[in-house]
């Protein structure tokens, strides 16, 4: 099962992976509308910078995912492709997955009315190659078997 491989030597800290992730998870999938007209989605990958180190991290889709183990109502589950995804209709935003994730790649979306929503990389179910991989200008993210 392919996941996104991170090559920090090639990351130039341009954030285009985050931009692509936001566009991919937006309503309109149009880059300008996604940023200026819609409620902007949260980027599932995070670019970190500590001169001269820069890299983008996102969910590793672990074989024995601790986030799935910690989820209190099964919202965190494995989909048909084999990737670990959140069911937004049942997630209650208890953040136990954030507590469990050893990679620290789950983010909080607190904009919903009653329930929070755990947000993390879902490996772009509507695409052949994840948006971040395609957008990276320097091949710091590649889509391959780990």
């Amino acid at each position: 099962m392919k996941v996104v491989k991170i090559k920090e030597d090639n990351c130039v800290y341009c954030h285009l992976c985050e931009v692509a992730c936001i566009v991919e998870h937006s309503q309109s999938k149009d880059i300008i509308k996604a940023f200026k007209r819609e409620e902007r989605p949260i980027a599932r990958c995070s670019v970190e910078f500590n001169y001269p180190v820069s890299l983008s991290v996102m969910c590793r889709h672990c074989d024995d995912a601790p986030c799935m183990e910690a989820c209190q109502n099964g919202s965190m589950h494995r989909d048909e492709r084999g990737y670990v995804v959140v069911n937004p209709d049942t997630c209650v935003g208890c953040w136990m997955c954030i507590m469990a994730c050893p990679y620290g790649v789950i983010k909080r979306d607190t904009r919903r009315e009653i329930w929070g929503l755990s947000t993390k990389c879902d490996l772009c179910p509507d695409r052949e190659i994840p948006a971040c991989v395609e957008a990276c200008p320097n091949e710091a993210l590649t889509f391959e078997e780990l």
Partner: protein, 527 residues
């Protein structure tokens, strides 16, 4: 900004790597006003405030104002490298040349800024890359022949085309016997294509670029020149595809270095700055550079103008043979000279001094750092130098004693063909290779802030060159040029480089006067 009142060399146009807006800029306006060279135009509708351009601008020209939620520029700091425009995901940025705001004056317009800067800062400007002034380009005045009817052209898809060539001293005649070659040959360099990567030092360029050059040279079966900066140990793996350079500063020259090279090139001069030595600003002498060059970190690496042990042709002969002794006569020794007025005589002397290869570097060659006045006013065009050297060596009957490598402003595959037709055995490409990797010729290499990660030692910027991608680009470049050369040679009815070399009958001059044609040794179009 560094001002060394004692030295004649000084760097201005050296913006720091800003992270926050330096709003005190305006205070310098009246004291130091020089209009900006570029204007960054940003389409507000398209700008999504992703701030990629802010992060990518290494010259401190782009900022994000959080309160106003706007991205803006200090145009004075923009050097026109176009990194921001390239990275912008919505094409919101256009970098434009700022039209000069002075009244039109043919005599003075291009000189006002330079004059003011010298007066304000009290130093001479340093620039990078090759001469950018509108001197004539002789390549563009030469046309190639094609074969038709009387002697048919050759179809490169169906007949073998030989691009291979050998660099080294050739004997005047060979003796063969039943068991093979009886004459002992001097050591040769075998090139699959007659194009090599020019001398660009590790120090002027980043680690990743050298890695890419090495990989491409290895793959294509050609060579890259280490330049005068020594070799990083990680690059010893390219042994078999490196020409090591011994320059006047002797940076990084030791036994292992000579051992790794397939040939050794003594750098007497460089086309971009004839008569003076190499120059690496202190900003670019990082930890690894200082280790490789065997010099203190952070200090300017200034190579002296002459080699201080070479003051005559006899001294050069001594150095050549010292290197040959050190390498047991197994490797060709090349000598690189800048194209100057008596280049023909110098080349003849170099050949007689025992060199196997003579490299001629024309005045359009690139450089990592050079005083502007030297780069823009000294030297000779490569085309002319090549023609006169080839002619002189032939007339003295010593043409086979050396291979000639032409270097300095080779821009495309047709320049390569024309150079070989004028008499070169092979060419070096420097600037063209860097442009293939990503260079946009903003001429700021000397600052060490290359936004493309090519001519910098900053570890954060160097990441911008991915050796996997860059080496592929270089390989693509060479393969495409090889294809174009084969196509052209086929059209000319020639099927090997050896047949093209010095074959001036295949060139015709257009728009050149009689004297120029005579010096180049080519016929005018129509004859």
């Amino acid at each position: 900004m560094i001002i060394d009142k004692n030295a004649t060399i000084l760097y201005y146009l050296l913006p720091k790597f800003f992270k926050e807006a330096e709003k005190v800029e305006w205070m310098k306006n009246l004291k130091e006003y020089v209009p900006p060279s570029f204007v960054v135009e940003r389409d507000d509708y398209r700008c999504i405030r992703c701030k990629a351009c802010v992060e990518q601008c290494s010259f401190g020209a782009t900022f994000y104002d959080e309160d106003e939620d706007k991205v803006w520029n200090w145009n004075a700091k923009c050097v026109g490298c176009n990194r921001c425009a390239a990275i912008c995901p919505t094409e919101a940025i256009t970098v434009k040349r700022a039209d000069p705001t002075y009244r039109y004056n043919h005599n003075w317009n291009t000189h006002i800024d330079g004059l003011k800067k010298r007066a304000i800062f009290g130093g001479t400007p340093v620039v990078s890359m090759g001469n950018d002034k509108p001197y004539p380009i002789y390549w563009d005045h030469m046309l190639l022949n094609a074969s038709q009817v009387t002697n048919p052209s050759i179809d490169p898809l169906r007949e073998p085309m030989e691009l291979k060539t050998f660099l080294g001293r050739k004997p005047a005649k060979v003796e063969v016997s039943d068991s093979g070659l009886k004459t002992r040959l001097a050591p040769q360099l075998e090139l699959e294509i007659p194009i090599m990567f020019a001398a660009m030092s590790y120090g002027a360029l980043s680690y990743n670029v050298i890695e890419s050059l090495g990989r491409a040279a290895q793959y294509m079966g050609t060579y890259y020149n280490s330049g005068e900066g020594g070799l990083n140990k990680d690059h010893y793996k390219f042994k078999g595809n490196i020409i090591v350079q011994v320059a006047s500063g002797r940076f990084g020259v030791h036994k292992d270095y000579l051992d790794v090279g397939s040939a050794i090139e003594i750098k007497i001069g460089q086309g971009a700055k004839p008569g003076i030595g190499g120059h690496l600003p202190g900003e670019k002498v990082s930890e690894t550079i200082s280790e490789t060059r065997m010099m203190p970190k952070g200090s300017d690496a200034l190579s002296p103008a002459p080699h201080h042990d070479v003051y005559s042709i006899e001294d050069l002969r001594q150095l050549i043979y010292a290197l040959k002794e050190a390498t047991e006569y197994k490797k060709p020794v090349a000598v690189k000279i800048a194209a100057v007025h008596n280049v023909a005589a110098i080349a003849s002397g170099v050949a007689r001094a025992g060199a196997d290869i003579v490299v001629i570097d024309g005045f359009k060659g690139g450089t990592g750092a050079s005083p502007q006045v030297i780069r823009d006013n000294i030297g000779l065009p490569l085309e002319v130098a090549l023609a006169v050297v080839d002619e002189r060596l032939r007339s003295e009957g010593i043409r086979q004693d050396v291979s000639i490598v032409a270097s300095g402003g080779i821009r495309n595959s047709m320049d390569v063909v024309k150079a070989i037709a004028l008499g070169a055995d092979a060419v070096y490409i420097g600037t063209a290779a860097l442009i293939a990797i990503g260079c946009t010729m903003c001429q700021q290499c000397h600052t060490g802030k290359c936004a493309w990660g090519i001519s910098t030692q900053d570890p954060h910027l160097s990441k911008r060159v991915n050796p996997d991608i860059a080496s592929k680009r270089l390989i693509n470049l060479l393969e495409v040029w090889a294809l174009e050369i084969k196509e052209t040679m086929g059209a000319m009815g020639i099927n090997s480089i050896e047949s093209l070399r010095g074959n001036r009958l295949n060139l015709r001059g257009v728009g050149l006067n009689e004297k120029e044609l005579e010096i180049l040794g080519i016929l005018p179009a129509g004859e």
